[in-house]
């Protein structure tokens, strides 16, 4: 089925598919493994969206190789890239409304708190604003 595509186009489609699959998987792993909701919000809204965009690029290139261009692939990509930050912002607002700022803190904050007396006591309250 794919033999009528040129060799370089096949390589581009394959690389885009593999990169897209890896980014989608990284987004799901981040959703499972991060500690706090505000950290968990990062990985699906950035990595998964980029992975789906890469898969759409592969689909567009493969469709162009077969001679049919379609608007719906581009439409799906544009729609996902526009709506992902909006829905992430709304979910962050909902979490802030329910519970206030981040409670888990970053790994560096936990290390500072574990030292005993080194970290400021308000570091745990300010949460995600001091994660540099």
């Amino acid at each position: 089925m794919w033999n009528d595509l040129p060799q370089s186009w096949q390589i581009v489609v394959s690389i885009a598919l593999v990169v897209g699959g890896l980014f989608v998987l990284v987004g799901a792993i981040g959703l499972v493994r991060f500690d706090d909701f505000f950290m968990r919000l990062h990985s699906p809204t950035k990595a998964t969206t980029l992975g789906v965009g890469s898969m759409l690029l592969a689909s567009i290139v493969a469709g162009a190789g077969h001679g049919h261009w379609s608007a719906s692939e581009v439409l799906v990509g544009v729609f996902l890239f526009i709506t992902a930050p909006v829905s992430a912002s709304l979910m962050a607002k909902a979490a802030l409304h329910r519970r206030g700022p981040s409670s888990a803190g970053t790994a560096r904050q936990r290390a500072m708190d574990g030292d005993g007396g080194q970290g400021q006591p308000e570091a745990a309250n300010e949460g995600s604003s001091r994660q540099d």
Partner: protein
Amino acid sequence: MIDLALDFALGCTGLSLVLVAWRLIRGPERVDRVLALDTLYVNVVALLILFGLRRDTMLLFEAALLIALLGFVSTVALARYLTRGDVMD
């Protein structure tokens, strides 16, 4: 070569669906479940694109567009419900 890459991408997407479903069941708060549902929608869009590539049909992209639209609307509705207590005034 493309078939192998397609199999790899399908496996990654299926595995990520399982992981996101674990977060959806487990999720300690309601906002986590909303986030997992949103991610599930995006993963289903990716799965439909891959199936469309494999079957060489254009029909599934319309379904992917529809699911992306419904996912965004449902995420906005759930987030507004968690924030204000009602969806619309």
